[in-house]
C-alpha cells in the first residue's frame, strides 16, 4: 500500500507503549496495532487528531506516501 505509517518511530521518540497510547487516544490496543502494522485501510480524522495530540506531532510525521 502506498500510504505507510511511521507510528512506531513517533512512539519511540515519545517513549510511549502501545497500551498507553491506545488508552490516551481512546481506541483499543488491537485497532492501534492494526494501524501500526500498516493493515488499516482508513483512519478517521478524530483518531488522527487524538494520535497527534498524544504524540505532539503532525499528521505528516506518522503518515508517509511511497508510490509502488
Amino acid at each position: 500500500m502506498p500510504i505507510i505509517t511511521t507510528l512506531d518511530v513517533e512512539m519511540a521518540k515519545n517513549k510511549i507503549s502501545l497500551t498507553d497510547l491506545a488508552e490516551e487516544v481512546g481506541i483499543t490496543q488491537a485497532n492501534l496495532s492494526i494501524l501500526k502494522t500498516g493493515k488499516a485501510k482508513a483512519i478517521r480524522f478524530t483518531t488522527l487528531e487524538a494520535i497527534c495530540e498524544a504524540l505532539d506531532c503532525q499528521p505528516g510525521d506518522i503518515l508517509k506516501y511511497e508510490p509502488e
Binding site: 481506541i27 492494526i34 494501524l35 493493515k39 488499516a40 485501510k41 482508513a42 478517521r44 483518531t47
Partner: protein, 189 residues
C-alpha cells in the same frame, strides 16, 4: 429471541440442521448398504410392496402389479442417491451459515461463499429432481403398459427451482459486496 448471537434462533437452527444432516447421512448409508447387500446376495426383491410416484401433479400408487412389485431401476437409484447427496451438501452449507451467525459474523466472506455454493446446488437440484421425476415416470410407464394403458413420458424442467437458485446466487454476490464493505469498516481506525 435474537436472530444472531450465542442464544439466538441461528444457534438453535444450526443444531437442528446438524441432526437433520446426521439422519440423512444415515439414511443414505443404509440405502447404499442395502444395495451392496442386494448385489452380493443376488436378492433383487424391492424394498417396498407398494410404490408411489408423483408425475405431473398426479400421484400414482402401484399395488400388486402382475409381475410382482415394480422394480426400482438403477438409474432411479443413482439419481435418488445424487439428489440426497446434494440435499446433504446444501444443508451442510446452510448449517455453516447459521453457525457463523451464531458467532455474530453476518457480513463475512465465508458466508457469501456458502451462499454461492447453496445457489449452485439448488440449480443442480432443479435439474436432478426433474430427471428423477422422469425416471420414476419411466418405471411407472412399463407397469401401465403391461396394464394396456398407453402413456407419454415427457421431460419437464423444474424452472422454479432453477430461478430460486439464480436468486440465491444474486443474494450471494450482494453479501460478498457487504462483506467487503464490512471488512473496510473494520479496518477503519
Amino acid at each position: 429471541m435474537e436472530l444472531t448471537g450465542k442464544t439466538s434462533a441461528a444457534g438453535y437452527l444450526s443444531k437442528i440442521l446438524t441432526i437433520v444432516i446426521a439422519l440423512m447421512v444415515i439414511f443414505l448409508l443404509a440405502g447404499i448398504g442395502l444395495e451392496i447387500y442386494s448385489i452380493i446376495t443376488g436378492d433383487t426383491a424391492t424394498l417396498f410392496e407398494r410404490v408411489s410416484f408423483n408425475f405431473n401433479g398426479l400421484r400414482f400408487n402401484v399395488l400388486n402389479s402382475p409381475e410382482g412389485n415394480v422394480n426400482i431401476s438403477a438409474q432411479f437409484k443413482i439419481l435418488a442417491a445424487s439428489y440426497l447427496l446434494l440435499i446433504i451438501y446444501l444443508t451442510a452449507n446452510l448449517r455453516q451459515i447459521f453457525r457463523n451467525l451464531r458467532e455474530g459474523m453476518l457480513f463475512y466472506h465465508p458466508n457469501a461463499g456458502h451462499m454461492r455454493r447453496i445457489g449452485v446446488t439448488v440449480i443442480i437440484i432443479g435439474v436432478v429432481s426433474s430427471l428423477l421425476e422422469m425416471s420414476s415416470a419411466w418405471m411407472l410407464y412399463d407397469y401401465l403398459l403391461a396394464q394396456g394403458v398407453d402413456v407419454d413420458v415427457m421431460f419437464e424442467l423444474d424452472v422454479v427451482t432453477l430461478f430460486i437458485g439464480v436468486v440465491i446466487l444474486l443474494f450471494a454476490s450482494i453479501f460478498q459486496k457487504a462483506a467487503d464493505i464490512a471488512e473496510e469498516q473494520n479496518l477503519t481506525i
